[in-house]
Every structure is written in C-alpha cells, then in structure tokens.
C-alpha cells in the first residue's frame, strides 16, 4: 500500500512539474508554425506597454512570415540586464533603447549599425534621427521623442482669468511673465489649489533646468565625444537657470515643496498646471472630467529649448547573428516607426514627419499642440557617461530645490564629481 502511495505521489509531483515547465516554455506568446521568431525586449510600463503591444500586434497580424515576441522587462534594471545579456550573447534580437544610452551601446560594440540592412532614412524628423547617428552610421530607428511639456487645467486657469477665448493661456513668454502667471494663480485660486504641481526632487526639475539652461544658450554638460568627453558646462547659465527654478519653490512659493504625488494632484483637479513628459497626455485623456490642455514648455529665455529623450529600436550585435532574424527585426523596426500614430496615443511625438502629417495622427486631440517640440528638443550629451552624469546632477540639484545649498555650491560639487567620473 505504501509503495502505491509513494508511486502516486511521485506521479502527481512529476505531472505538476511538467505542467509548470510547459507553462514556462509557452510564456510570452506562441510562435506560428513556419514563422521566424524575433525576440523583442521593451522597458515600458503603465499605459505605454499597451500601446506598444498594439504596434507589435498590428505587425504580427499584417503578415505570417515573421513573429515578434514582445517581452516586457522590469524598467529599473532594464539597461543592466540588456547590456549584460547582449554581452553574454543571450540578449534579444531587437530592443528598445533610449537615445542617451546609445553611446554606451555603440562604444561597447553591443549594437549593429543599420545601414547594411536599410537605406530608408527619409521621412524622419532630422533632429531625432541625428541623435542616433555615430561616425556617419545609423545605429537605431527612432520611434518618438518624449519631451517635457506643461499641462494646464482649463477650468482653474479660466477661474483665475488667465485663459483666452481661443483656449490659449495669458502668459507673457518672459522669465517675469512665467512667474507672474503662476503668482496670479496663487493669488486668485482658493488656498487648497496648487498653482504648479511639480516635484522638487528627481528627474522632473532636472529636465526643467536643462530646458531653461538650453533656452539661455547653454549647450552641454560634456563635449560630444563618445569615450573621452571634456567638462563643458556653461557655469553662469547653469547657475542662472537653477536659481530661477529654485525661486519658484523658495521665493515665489508657487510650487509646494515635497508633494507626495504631483501627478495625482493634477489628475484630481487640485492643480492649475503641472509639468512632465508628454506621456502624461494619454493618462489625462482617460481621466473622467479632467479638462486640460497640453502646451510646450514656454520659451521664456533667448531661444527655443526643451528636455527630451527618444525611444529607439536597436539591433544587438552577436558574433554569430542569424541574418534572417536580423532582417526580420529591421523590417519590424521600420514598421513600428511608420505606425507611430498608434504609439502617439500614449502621448509621444512620432519620429517621422510623414506620420505627424498623417490624418491618423492629426485625428488625435492635443498632440499637435506640442508636436513641434520635436524640432528643437535638446537631447543629452552624446557620451558613454550620460547616465552617470544625470545621476550626479540630479542628486546635487535636489539640495538646491530644497533650499539646502546654493547653486554655486551645487555646480562646484557637480564639476568635481563629473570630472572624477570621466577621469578628467
């Protein structure tokens, strides 16, 4: 009896284990018979993931020879995993990469140039495309640019008398006009309403600093040398831009400090304005009763400038890459760029001017309000240190926003740390 029981238990366990294994192997998606499988890694979360899947589904439905297996990776560790996996020869066939990470991938020989596969570079926005070219070779097909823009709550801004009849805002595009706009909101709106919902740490204020720094004519933190850049910050402009933003928190108090979740402050109608990346457009659209308008970050200094990055598709390099899979991957990349109108539903600005001019894109509300930003968005410096430099600048600027350091001290520390990082 005991033997029978043992045998039965073993059978049950083996069945469970086999079941688990078969579940694992079919994780992701089933590859249609005869189709070439292209494994794609992406880092999207939230609404972005659904729109991106829609692009992949449309491609898979459009033909039967190629199947793109879209695998979502955890965002926070995405690049560590991508770099090490490609390095170990076990990465994906095609991957999403931000423009600012491309120098690292190119420098380490982890991605393949695409000119051997396609010469179809017409129709892209030149500013976005240029950011993916190294030594005259194209290393990525850009899908979009996602710039930092502003969002206005029409109801609250109208209540303060700052909305024109055509829906535009009454703001003089000067440093003083920008402050006046929020000061009037602060004065006229009830005490529990926030003039500008914004973070005072992390990426968002750093992006605003970058926008104003470049609007003042500042061009870079490092020179554009992929492996051996030099420190090139325009200190006066950097300090001026940083002090201007600090005053929004500390002197004019139009941004409350340490908001726990400034997205929800705007989403619940408690803030007259907020600033973040274009990706919030899709979120606000799906929020019931939120009457909003997205606008480009106003040009309040000398020239147009905005922070922006770009999602691109890259082809990882492997010693023994399957040419057929690579060709299929590039075919998908081109399809994704051509179908940027689907991706634009998330809020992103498509990389192809042909898409921006298309009816499909123009039928989407709001996007045309800020699509022009793509022409003047300022990408991060083209060096392998882009991620490290960004960490350093953000960490130090956080002290300034909180009123714990002066801009002079902050940029003195930034200079020391960045020079140490790049070995200058």
């Amino acid at each position: 009896m005991k033997k029978w029981l043992t045998l039965l238990m073993t059978l049950v366990l083996v069945t469970i284990m086999l079941g688990a294994c078969s579940e694992e192997s079919s994780k992701g998606a089933k590859v249609p018979e005869g189709a070439t499988e292209v494994v794609l890694w992406n880092l999207f979360g939230g609404g972005d993931a659904d729109y991106f899947q829609e692009v992949v589904d449309k491609y898979n439905d459009s033909q039967t020879d190629i199947f793109v297996n879209n695998i979502m990776q955890e965002n926070a560790e995405y690049y560590t995993k991508l770099l090490t996996s490609i390095g170990a020869g076990k990465g994906p066939d095609v991957a999403i990469a931000h423009t600012h990470v491309i120098p690292e991938l190119v420098s380490q020989g982890l991605i393949t140039e695409l000119d051997s596969f396609t010469s179809n570079w017409e129709g892209f926005n030149q500013n976005i495309l240029d950011a993916t070219v190294y030594d005259g070779l194209h290393y990525a097909i850009p899908l979009d640019t996602h710039a930092q823009i502003m969002y206005i709550n029409n109801k609250l801004v109208a209540e303060a008398g700052l909305l024109n009849d055509d829906g535009s805002i009454k703001m003089e595009e000067t440093p003083e006009g920008f402050i006046d706009f929020f000061s009037i909101l602060k004065e006229k709106l009830p005490k529990d309403k926030i003039p500008l919902a914004f973070s005072n740490n992390g990426s968002d204020p750093y992006w605003m600093w970058w926008a104003f720094y470049t609007q003042m004519g500042g061009e870079a933190i490092l020179t554009d040398d992929i492996d051996n850049p030099k420190y090139a910050l325009d200190l006066d402009k950097a300090i001026k831009a940083a002090d201007y933003i600090k005053d929004l928190y500390q002197e004019h108090k139009v941004i409350p400090l340490n908001l726990a979740d400034f997205y929800s402050d705007f989403q619940t109608g408690n803030a007259a304005a907020m600033s973040t990346g274009v990706w919030a457009t899709g979120i606000w659209e799906s929020t019931d009763g939120l009457d909003f308008t997205p606008i480009a970050t106003p040009t309040i200094f000398e020239k147009e400038g905005a922070w922006g990055d770009s999602h691109t598709l890259v082809l990882p390099y492997y010693n023994k890459a399957d040419q057929e899979v690579q060709k299929a991957a590039v075919e998908f990349m081109e399809f994704a760029a051509d179908n940027g109108a689907i991706w634009a539903k998330a809020g992103h600005i498509p990389s192809k001017t042909t898409v921006i001019e298309s009816d499909e894109f123009n039928k989407l509300p709001y996007r045309s309000n800020y699509a022009e930003v793509a022409n003047y968005v300022n990408f991060a410096d083209r060096t392998i240190y882009a991620r490290g430099v960004q960490d350093i600048v953000i960490r130090n600027l956080d002290l300034l926003w909180a009123g714990d350091a002066t801009a002079e001290d902050v940029f003195s520390t930034v200079e020391k740390e960045v020079k140490d990082l790049i070995g200058e």
Binding site: E77, T80, L83, T84, G87, E104, Q108, L110, N200, N201, G202, P256, L257, N258, L259, A260, D261, I384, Y385, R387, G388, D391, R395, N396, D398, L399, A402, D404, A405, E417, D420, L421
Partner: protein, 290 residues
Amino acid sequence: MKKKLWAQDLKAIPFLLPFFIAYLVFTIFPIFKGLEMSLYDWTLIRKLEFVGLDNYQKMLGDPHFWKTLWNTTLFVILTTPAMLILSLVLALLANMKSKFTTFLRGSYFIPSILSVSVISFLAIFMLQPYNGLINTVLHTIGIEAEPFWMADKALAWLTIVIVTLWWSVGFNMILFLAGLQDIPESLYEASEIDGATGWEKFRYITLPQLRPIGKIILLLQILASYKVFAQILLITGGGPGGGTRPIIQYIYEVGFRQNNLGYAAAMSYALFFILLILSVIQLRNQKEER
C-alpha cells in the same frame, strides 16, 4: 572502525554534496572572482586591463566612499542599541504569562515576514506630507507644522531607523524569547525564597543569563545593518542630496549605473574587511568570556 565512520559521518556526504556544490559555485567562487575583479578595470561587459591596487587607491581618496561609509556607520550606531533594547523589552512582554501572549508574539513578529518593498511602501504612504496618516494625525491634534519626513535629512534618518526597527525587531525578539525560555525556573524560585524583588530578578538573573544570546544578536545586527540598502533606496533613494545614501547603494551605482565593476568590487572588499574585523573582535570577546 571503518564501518562506524561510514555509519556516522560519510553517510551524510551524498546529502551534503548538493548544498556544498551550490555553496562553492554561488558563494566561494564569487568571493575570489570579486577579488580578481577589484584588481582590474572591468565593465559590465568585459574585463579590460589589469590595474593592480589602483581601485583601492582611488577608494581611499574618494569622498563619496567615506561619506557613504559614514552614513552606513551612523545607521549602525542609530539602530543597533535601539534594536537590542526594543527587542528585549518586547521579548519580556511576550514572555509574560497572560492570555495575550500569543497575540503579542504574533503582532510583534508579523512585520518581519513582510517584504522590504511592502514595508517601504507603507512607510512612504503613511509619512507623505499634506495628506499622509502621520501628518494628518499631527494636524488633528493641533500641530500645524508640515514635517517633510523624507526630505529633511534628520527626519529622513529618523524615518529609516523607525521603519527598520519596526520591520526587523520581531526576529530579534524571537531570539531573546528563546533565550528567556532557556533560563531555568529554579533560579527565579530560589531568588524568591531569598526575597528578591522583580527588578533584582531581572538585574541579577535574566540579564546575565541573556548575555550570550544578546551578544549573538549584537553581532548579527551590526553585520545586517552594515549591509543596509533596500529600505533606504526605496524610501529616500539615498536622499536628500545623498544624505542617507549607504555604501551598498554607492557600490551598486558605481557598478551598475556607472559601468565600473572593478571599482565597485574594490569597495565591496573594503566593506567585507570591516565586517570581518568586527566579527573577529566580537568572537574573540565571546571566547575570552567563556
């Protein structure tokens, strides 16, 4: 004799072997690999050139290494005594003969089974300004100030320490509880006959009897606290402005964000030696007492 050896010891080998192999591959090998790594310029992808002790030399002159090491030491100083006292007090409460004993033991221990992301999220949720639970309570009782728990350096430390204590005190309490239950009842009975008060029983019986387990908890706590990382990363991100950034976070950033595994490995070894020295001192101390 041979048969005895087989029966007693060698029989265990097939059972121990799988763990031993896993231990060799996943613990011993990485230790030596890390040492090799610290002597090279080594990116996430590949080994570059041999740099000898350059990484260690760089470490000695790196203000961030010293600052994050100090932050970590500060965390150890802030949490260790508090952890010892609190876990002892809770163990004494949980050891009392009352109908709430099981409830107390359970409620003290439950936080330690939660994952670090859960406790960090709870902390952020409760401590957020303007509408978080703690600030709302403060406003309700008439305190109008708006403490920024995670944005002010001193308050951020207080937050991290309290959250860590709440999260991990249960485990140490269980160790003290085991120690308390090992104290022979006869000692207390004898002291009662001699007319000892409650305090005297605690002072002269409980505390000395708990000394060995207390030392083990002290050592474990120091080692664990020096490895603090996840709750700080999740609650303050090492901020404000790097004010709470511990050494492990710095090692992680250098290795995985700045693509410099060689230097990160060198700093890991520095931490390893600090922990080794502390452990040796503590173990020697225990040996001498015996």
